[in-house]
């Protein structure tokens, strides 16, 4: 197992480089460049100004040379310098990463827990009205555009009831510390995490439900019933675990996308996360920053793919032999 993990990690490093290279060309294929964008914002700029910027960013060099310089930097754990923000990319990302992880992980846990729970409940009541109700509700959350739901949540809980802060990561200027600060952040977290979580919930709910129904037809469920086990235990221990296989795959997929997956939520809730950073970098063609975010996101995806595979082996002993 350990060898398996080490091998995968080694491979992942190589893949990362390959992915970065591809990303590099992909990004450069999009029209426009950071010099033009920055010149565009400057309110005035002449050709000299833009040429200056290009030179400063190294954009005047041939593309392959640029790639070489970038990759060399990456190999030395240097993600380069953000053109626009005039700061090392790594610093910018590390600044934002905790907020994003906090938000997306919470949402992930909410969606996974609520989703599988709802799926289990629905599957236990298959065909009844409560099944339909649960399914429809989950779909409602899913099909509602996120920003719409988010704004409604803010209007309701923030503007109307004034229970929860509607945006931001913490109360700016309050200068809380310690536990007080943690609580403050927690309060700010509730709305965005729930909105995001409810959105993803539907996927888990539907997947769990379908899978549970499929598994509940299998023979070993009959054995379990013959033991006199309570339906609840059968559901949980026998059906649920077997039904979790596709859900695990899906969860791994989603977890990998945590870094970049919350652009809209971060925007609406003014959450200072990576998603927004990426989006801005993309809009501004801040190549280094964008590549940096893609790099982190790729690393996350690979990591979670690995975790999923390990988890899979854990959940399904049959695969372990292979």
């Amino acid at each position: 197992m350990l060898r398996f993990i080490l091998m995968r990690l080694g491979k992942a490093a190589i893949i990362l480089i390959a992915i970065l290279t591809l990303n590099f060309f992909l990004i450069h294929a999009a029209p426009g460049d950071p010099a033009a964008v920055m010149a565009g914002e400057a309110g005035a700029a002449d050709a000299k100004f833009i040429a200056q910027l290009r030179e400063q960013f190294g954009l005047d060099k041939p593309l392959l040379t640029q790639l070489g310089i970038y990759l060399k930097g990456v190999l030395q754990f240097d993600l380069g310098f953000s053109y626009r923000q005039q700061m090392p990319v790594a610093d910018l990302i590390l600044d934002r990463l905790p907020a994003t992880l906090l938000l997306t992980m919470t949402a992930f846990v909410i969606s996974l827990l609520l989703g599988t729970l709802a799926g289990v409940l629905a599957s236990a009541r298959v065909g009844k009205w409560s099944d339909t109700a649960i399914s429809t509700l989950a779909l409602l959350f899913y099909a509602t555009p996120l920003y719409w739901a988010a704004l409604m949540a803010v209007l309701l809980f923030s503007v109307y009831f004034n229970w929860l802060p509607g945006f931001g990561y913490e109360t700016v200027g309050a200068n809380y510390t310690g536990l007080r600060r943690a609580l403050d952040i927690g309060q700010h977290l509730i709305l965005p995490a729930t909105t995001l979580g409810l959105f993803f919930m539907a996927v888990y709910m539907r997947m769990t439900r379908a899978s549970m129904l499929e598994v509940s037809q299998l023979d070993f469920v009959k054995t379990a019933r013959a033991k006199g086990l309570k339906p609840g235990i059968i559901q949980r221990r026998h059906i649920f675990r077997n039904a979790m296989l596709p859900v695990v795959t899906l969860a791994g997929l989603q977890a990998g996308q945590l870094v970049g997956g919350a652009v809209l939520t971060e925007t609406v809730f003014a959450w200072p996360g990576i998603g927004r950073l990426m989006f801005e970098a993309l809009a501004q063609r801040d190549y280094n920053l964008l590549l940096g975010v893609f790099f982190v996101s790729a690393a996350m995806v690979l990591l979670f793919n690995l975790i999923t595979d390990v988890l899979y082996r854990f959940v399904d002993p049959r695969i372990r032999v292979a």
């Binding site: 893949i15 390959a18 992915i19 591809l22 990303n23 992909l26 990004i27 294929a29 999009a30 029209p31 339909t132 399914s135 779909l139 409602l140 899913y142 099909a143 509602t144 555009p145 996120l146 920003y147 719409w148 704004l151 209007l155 996927v203 539907r206 997947m207 379908a210 899978s211 129904l213 499929e214 037809q217 296989l245 596709p246 695990v248 795959t249 899906l250 791994g252 997929l253 990998g256 996308q257 870094v259 970049g260 997956g261 652009v263 998603g275 990426m278 989006f279 993309l282 975010v293 893609f294 996101s297 790729a298 995806v301 690979l302 793919n305 899979y312 399904d316 049959r318 695969i319 292979a322």
Partner: protein, 279 residues
């Protein structure tokens, strides 16, 4: 086929879903007949609330355009985007996942690395980059959405196939001399159908909403009316004109609901254990 229909129709929800979808498709097809005027035409004063003028039952938008006509025309584009990109994503994702899971070894490795590439770039960002590169148009939007949505399909299918390929009935098929292709198509894939259906019916909604986000960023096809466009455009005036996002939202929801109900019906109809339920 008749048999299949009989089984399918036993699920009342599925029939309702099919009916809703049929209506949506019908409206989409007949839009030019019902609303001969372009949905972009500014026909009344802006922000006319719904039900205040018989001629424009769902009101008008920020430029005084008829909402109901937009909904009808939007159905065309949104359905197209949702369905075509989902089908395309399935057509890419299922074979890749199935081949990877079935053959394992280096095939799996190669295909999964390939998949990983598409997966590692956050899908929203990838979609933006792709549309930006290829210029916004309905084709490039559909292609971009398909390209960003197939990796989950591939990984899901692979996971399922991985655990199915060691089943004895697959071995039996190997022995009986069936080619790998037949085995994958006939023995393995049918047994992965249920999670795929679930995923696919949700993907349609994601696609419609992704198109909306793209058009919100100015990367939609600006000459085509779609539900996503309507919702995106209504976003800024939610507080003034709830109906502008509400009606297209309901349209999307109904369509998604319909597709999910149909998916469920399909699932039941394809499940041999439920096949003969009820006389």
């Amino acid at each position: 086929m008749a048999d299949f229909w009989k089984r399918f129709s036993r699920n009342r929800g599925a029939v309702i879903g099919l009916a809703i979808l049929a209506i949506v498709i019908l409206v989409a097809l007949l839009a030019p007949l019902i609303f001969p005027q372009s949905p972009w035409r500014m026909v009344q004063r802006p922000f006319l609330p719904p039900f205040s003028m018989d001629q424009y039952p769902l009101g008008t938008d920020a430029l005084g355009r008829d909402v109901i006509s937009g909904l009808a025309y939007g159905a065309q584009v949104s359905l197209l985007v949702g369905l075509v990109s989902t089908v395309a994503a399935l057509l890419i994702g299922i074979p890749i996942g199935a081949l990877a899971g079935y053959f394992g070894g280096w095939v799996d490795d190669a295909l999964m690395r390939f998949t990983e590439f598409f997966q590692t770039v956050p899908s929203f960002a990838l979609a933006i980059v792709l549309v930006a590169i290829f210029q916004p148009s309905i084709e490039s939007i559909i292609a971009a959405i398909a390209i960003v949505s197939w990796p989950p399909v591939a990984r899901l299918v692979r996971g399922e196939v991985l655990s199915l390929r060691s089943r004895e009935y697959v071995e039996a098929a190997i022995l009986s001399g069936q080619t790998s292709l037949t085995i994958i198509l006939r023995q393995v894939l049918p047994n992965t159908i249920s999670p795929i259906i679930v995923l696919a019916s949700l993907m349609v909604a994601t696609a419609i909403l992704l198109e909306s986000s793209l058009s919100f960023l100015g990367l939609g096809d600006p000459n085509l009316m779609s539900w996503g466009y309507m919702i995106g455009a209504a976003r800024t005036v939610i507080r003034q004109a709830w109906w502008l996002s509400f009606f297209p939202g309901v349209a999307i929801l109904l369509t998604v609901l319909a597709l999910n109900l149909i998916g469920e019906g399909l699932n039941d109809a394809l499940n041999p254990r439920l096949a003969r339920r009820g006389k």
